[in-house]
């Protein structure tokens, strides 16, 4: 369990399946994401059960409010031991919690874990160019735009650019505080 200010990050459980199913099939939630096909409950269940335990190779966590409401998921994958970087992804499925700082708090909490406990040096992510809300949030967390992958995603009838954003350990510490 990782404690943030507004949220807690905890392991995902098979009992999360109904929420996962609803979010994965909510077109508003997946609008800017690469998820485009309808998902079955069985797909979601196998996603929840299929993963190995959290480790350096893959971290997948549920985002809970302090009151215990599961509002989304966050994770790191393709962590590279030599380069010491990993890719971050996040999804706030419960739309009532959009634009209220929960996503940013979840990201900062996971970044602190990535830098201070996993000993990573860099975390990066991909953001669809039109996802202004998310891009603003990533900037708040310390991510800077490093590149623009032109026409990297096809959705909703056209190509979209994807922003490549990254944050370094030193930058994170300067912005959010280093080890106490």
């Amino acid at each position: 369990m990782l404690e943030g200010k507004l949220v807690r990050l905890r392991s995902l459980e098979p009992s999360d399946v109904e929420r996962e199913y609803a979010w994965a099939n909510d077109l508003e939630v997946t609008h800017y994401l690469s998820m485009r096909y309808p998902f079955s409950r069985a797909d979601e269940e196998s996603w929840l059960r299929g993963g190995p335990p959290n480790s350096f190779n893959q971290v997948r966590l549920g985002i809970e409010t302090k009151a215990g409401l599961h509002i989304g998921n966050i994770g790191l994958y393709t962590a590279n031991a030599e380069e010491r970087h990993a890719e971050l992804w996040i999804l706030i499925g419960d739309k009532a919690y959009w634009s209220k700082g929960y996503g940013a708090d979840a990201i900062v909490t996971l970044l602190r874990f990535a830098f201070h406990d996993m000993n990573l040096n860099r975390v990066y992510l991909y953001a669809q160019e039109a996802n202004a809300r998310a891009i603003a949030c990533y900037r708040t967390c310390g991510f800077v735009e490093e590149g623009r992958l032109r026409q990297h995603r096809f959705r909703h009838g056209r190509y979209w650019d994807v922003l490549f954003m990254g944050v370094l350990r030193d930058e994170f510490d300067a912005l959010h505080g280093g080890p106490s």
Binding site: F56, A79, A81, E82, E83, R84, D117, M118, N119
Partner: protein, 185 residues
Amino acid sequence: MLDGQLVRLRAIEPGDRERAHAWLDDPEVTYYLTMRYPLASADPMWLADAQPASFANGVYLAVETKDGTHIGAINLHELNPEDRKAGLGIIIGDKACWSNGYGLDAIATLLRFAFHEMNLHRVWLSVLAGHEAAIRCYEKCGFRHESRRRQQVFKHGRYWDVLIMSILRDEFDAPHVAPSPERGT
């Protein structure tokens, strides 16, 4: 292939098995090693069975002289990505090559790879107290004494202490510990 001054470190090949087995069957070679039971030539042995080198699999390499003679093997095991540390193990099986700086050069070469290519922070090793030649060699490579596990291993009718030694990235980079085979052993 990692190039040192006296040796090369290359991937392990199936053809290494016969020599590896002969070394591990030689009580003089294994006197200070923790292995104790006789090994059949087909038994698993790290000197002959390596997976492709990676952070997850570990790095297990054959040591050969510059003229291509296979004289031993060296490894990084128990790699930990968060702590950025690994254990180091080495066997120079060809006794004609003992005390000639080959082991030292192999270790220096692998340490450079560990720190500068794999981005490790710490490399540690364990050695039986009493294995003086090895301990001196590790000291020359820049390893520092850290721990003495009392009576950790039983061999040759008695308990032996095991020493833990380590070197950190900064220490390896400091010029005064940079080992060179010209300095002997």
